[in-house]
């Protein structure tokens, strides 16, 4: 059935819905059309349909995930609350039917019946071209590839039409997982090359506007900032044929309206609502609300350790004892987060991340530590946050401000516009701030490499430098690659302990990703990228 015919066939039904005073008789065919269409409402939409593009935003990742295939993907396991959760350690083929890992390379055999949306077969040269593209275009995709030590086009070797080998530059445990993230997607190289130009050799302008993949869905219409319409690709071989035929994704900026649309039953799925709404919707039980912790993610209070007063560990500990943790959990998060504080005194450190620290709200201890540090009369400072997430950040900072005032630290709140936040982080001058970090790859050493290592990446927002910390992090990375689990465990426990005794950043909680959907929607899966995977979903 063509789109236009389809629209004609449902128009009667929709007209009936528009003016409910007119009773409408719904034929079963029309009801089917509606039951095979998923209507998603969210605040923001994609700015680019290709994750390799310049500055593609997070909603754009969702399009890429569903419209392109990768060589491999993750298996599912049962996560918290029985929700399917991606299995960090188990891989399955998507375009590849076989994966063979050798000492310094991995070889993929492609599925021979895989086709791009235009009917061209998916061949080894497409894989090579796409991976070359990912490591060459610069910006975020290239950066993400390098996180798995994938940096040079020479690493991708075509063996024959349906066999590709990826050579390792060095042993790195993250190389294989990095081939299953969103970035190394396989693009229709012939089609894109035809539409590339000298100025744009990778055809980024072309793939920005349309999808050129082999994935389970293809974008049939995209009006930036308004809607994305995706249709199922019936020839998809990456997995079982999805049940949803059509996905309509509309941008509704007003959170209250998104909730109203859900509660009236007009929209099927929404996310990005205030925590309070999620908590209320959970309580009244009309909708299905799924809340799962961000994998490898933490909201924290950071302190710049290069400048007084936060260069003094005693002051940092005092702050850690003065944070109103439980109040933040109750009044800001409405319970929709995992606490990362107040572990029992005798609880041994685990080889896991994130895990709670042992600080609790204890004003007497905080005051004593302030006096010890020579700041019995307190000091003045500013606390900064990103306005893009003001819904959580603002009340959080107000609570922290109130609490710090009790130990003599007078804070002014500095609201930084979203466009400016990253620039401010990069400058590393904010004395006190709150932020979230979460890594796609769910490994403690990955998190610590970005956030605590002395090479001072943008996410080491505290400018924390410690030779001992670097030794432990590097040690864990090497141990992971060589499979030396005993050293790995000691090093991971070591850097967690050090991060908590030196406390340059104070973990508050592990946030939840919340998704609200109608009761008749099933098949939601949690992925590391936290966006929707339509391929497993069903309606009715």
């Amino acid at each position: 059935m063509k789109r236009r015919d389809f629209l004609k066939s449902v128009s009667g039904l929709a007209a009936g819905a528009a003016l409910p005073a007119v009773p409408s008789v719904i034929s079963s065919a029309q009801a089917d059309a509606r039951s095979e269409t998923l209507l998603i409402v969210s605040e923001g939409g994609p700015n680019n349909l290709d994750i390799h593009g310049v500055g593609t935003n997070v909603p754009g990742y969702e399009v890429s995930w569903n419209c392109y295939d990768r060589l491999i993907s993750h298996e599912m396991k049962t996560g918290p609350g029985g929700v399917p959760y991606y299995d960090r350690d188990k891989f399955k083929g998507e375009l590849a039917e076989d994966m063979k890992i050798d000492d310094m390379s991995v070889t993929f055999k492609l599925k021979k019946n895989a086709k791009f949306h235009d009917g061209a077969p998916v061949a080894a040269r497409d894989v090579k071209w796409s991976l070359d593209r990912a490591v060459s275009v610069g910006g975020f995709p290239t950066f993400q590839m390098s996180a798995g030590s994938l940096t040079k086009p020479e690493q991708f070797v075509v063996i024959d039409d349906y066999t590709v080998r990826v050579d390792f530059l060095k042993k790195d445990k993250l190389t294989i997982p990095d081939l299953a993230v969103i970035v190394p997607c396989i693009v229709n190289s012939e089609l894109v090359k035809k539409n590339a130009s000298e100025k744009d050799p990778w055809g980024l302008e072309f793939t920005k506007q349309q999808t050129a993949g082999s994935g389970a869905y293809k974008v049939t219409k995209w009006t930036a900032g308004t809607e994305v319409i995706m249709e199922r690709n019936d020839d998809w071989v990456g997995g079982p044929l999805p049940k949803i035929k059509r996905v309509i994704w509309r941008m509704v900026p007003q959170a209250g309206n998104r909730r109203a649309l859900l509660e009236r039953g007009d929209a099927d799925i929404s996310y990005e609502l205030p925590n309070k709404d999620f908590q209320e919707m959970k309580a009244n039980g009309k909708l299905n609300v799924v809340s799962l912790p961000f994998s490898n993610g933490i909201q924290y209070i950071g302190m710049n350790v290069t400048k007084p007063p936060f260069d003094n560990p005693k002051v940092r500990q005092a702050v850690a004892y003065a944070i109103p943790y439980q109040k933040i959990m109750d009044a800001v998060m409405f319970g929709l987060a995992n606490p990362m504080f107040g572990a029992a005194k005798d609880k041994p450190t685990e080889v896991a991340w994130p895990q709670p620290h042992k600080y609790n709200t204890d004003m007497e201890k905080a005051k004593a530590l302030m006096a010890e540090a020579g700041y019995a009369n307190g000091f003045e400072t500013t606390i900064s946050f990103d306005l893009n997430f003001a819904g959580v950040n603002e009340p959080l900072c107000v609570l922290v401000q109130e609490s710090l005032a009790q130990i003599g630290i007078k804070t002014t709140i500095n609201k930084v516009p979203g466009a400016n936040w990253r620039t401010e982080l990069n400058k590393k001058e904010m004395p006190l701030f709150t932020n979230v970090f979460s890594g796609w790859l769910d490994y403690p050493e990955y998190f610590f490499y970005w956030c605590y290592h002395g090479n001072n990446s943008v996410f080491n927002t505290m400018s924390y430098k410690s030779a001992e910390m670097d030794r432990l992090i590097d040690g864990a990375r090497v141990a992971a690659a060589t499979g030396d689990m005993a050293t790995y465990d000691t090093d991971v426990k070591g850097f967690v302990d050090l991060a908590y005794s030196d406390i340059p950043r104070i973990p508050l909680y592990q946030p939840f990703v919340n998704v609200a959907m109608q009761k008749n929607i099933s098949g939601y899966q949690y992925w590391f990228h936290r966006r929707l995977d339509y391929r497993a979903m069903a309606k009715g």
Binding site: R3, R4, L7, V10, S11, G12, L13, A14, A15, A17, A18, L19, P20, A21, R34, L39, V41, N47, G53, V54, G55, T56, N57, V58, G138, G139, F140, T142, F143, Q144, T223, A224, G225, T226, E227, I248, R250, M251, V252, P253, Q254, G256, N257, A260, L261, E263, R264, D266, A267, P417, G418, A419, N420, R422, T423, N426, W450, S457, V458, F459
Partner: protein
């Protein structure tokens, strides 16, 4: 007449040049760094620099400005980074959405406000006058997003009379082939009456919201102008000559009171067009206001410049139309460039 229009347009050129320069400088003076913003959540310093180079932001300001004006001269407004589309195309798509909504809102407002203002002026101190005062005060003191949310809550969420606030058309309709960009007109041209009904039902709530807000200036201005005219000598003469009250009010008084009302209308229209951002947000309306604000939040220069420039051109044209209308309504107003 034509020379007058030509002269007026000539005078607009320096102000447009001024607008181009000022918006260019203002957007560059914004605190955000677009390169850092678009480099993504996990960018290194090198990645940010790569993006900066790609966007041409590493060049000197003067060079950027000349490149920008050169593009403008070729009708190229640049590309928006947040939506990824050419700005000219986006404005062309979004301006009709805002204009349709604003015009309809204004028409609803005029239909209510002008009779209300006239009645209030003819019977000052009566219940009509009080009604006029109360409605206009209430309308102007309720913020538009609040009125919009209340309307959505009552008519969509509670009563279910209104369709879902999901933009210009129900999700299951396809957009009519673009002729004017106004869905009400395009659907009729395409003889798609169901889509017309859908477009109209989507428009009712946002247009009402805008109308409630713009009632006040129009009604108050009508009342004030009518009061002034009604107390003037020619009205007294007309009344003394035994003309019917309707003839006196409509033919003589109202026509003379229209000049200030038209001026107010033009002000209200141009103000609403840019300022209905909040209504657009509440009703997920793909208009020009929300586009500009989103661009501003993400330091996306091109759309902001394009928006300001479009608005400046609209103001110039609107003023011209109003001036011509003056001449039509009141022959005493001689138009001389």
């Amino acid at each position: 007449m034509l020379t007058m229009i030509g002269k007026r347009l000539m005078f607009a050129i320096p102000s447009l040049i001024g607008v181009v320069i000022v918006t260019f400088l203002l957007t560059r003076a914004l605190p955000g760094d677009p390169a850092a913003y678009f480099a993504g959540p996990a960018a290194t310093k090198e990645a940010v620099e790569q993006i900066r180079k790609k966007l041409g932001l590493d060049r000197p300001l003067v060079e950027q400005f000349f490149r920008y004006t050169n593009d403008l001269a070729h009708g190229d407004f640049g590309n928006s980074l947040t939506t990824g589309q050419p700005v000219a195309a986006e404005i062309r798509n979004r301006l009709p959405a805002s204009a349709e909504l604003t015009l309809l809102g204004l028409i609803v407002s005029i239909v209510i406000a002008i009779p209300l203002g006239v009645l209030a002026a003819t019977r000052p101190g009566s219940w009509v006058d009080h009604l006029c005062r109360v409605t206009t005060t209430a309308g102007v003191s309720l913020p538009v997003f609040f009125t919009g949310l209340v309307l959505v809550y009552v008519f969509y969420f509670r009563l279910g009379w209104s369709p879902a606030p999901l933009g210009r058309l129900d999700v299951f309709y396809s957009t009519p082939p673009t002729v004017t960009g106004f869905y009400l007109i395009d659907t009729l041209l395409a003889r798609d009456f169901e889509a017309f009904r859908s477009a109209l039902s989507q428009l009712i709530l946002p247009a009402t919201t805008l109308a409630i807000f713009s009632l006040a200036p129009i009604a108050r201005m009508t009342r004030a102008a009518m009061l002034a005219v009604l107390s003037s000598e020619f009205v007294r003469t007309a009344r003394a000559s035994g003309l019917s009250p309707a003839t006196v009010i409509v033919t003589y008084a109202f026509r003379n009171a229209m000049l200030p009302v038209i001026t107010t209308l033009s002000m209200v229209f141009s103000f609403l067009l840019g300022a209905n951002v909040l209504v657009e947000k509440v009703f997920a309306w793909p208009g020009i206001g929300s586009y500009a604000v989103e661009a501003l939040i993400s330091s996306d220069f091109a759309p902001v410049q394009g928006f300001v420039l479009t608005m400046a051109v609209m103001y110039v044209l609107l003023n011209l139309v109003i001036d011509i209308l003056y001449g039509v309504i009141d022959p005493r107003v001689r138009l001389e460039g």
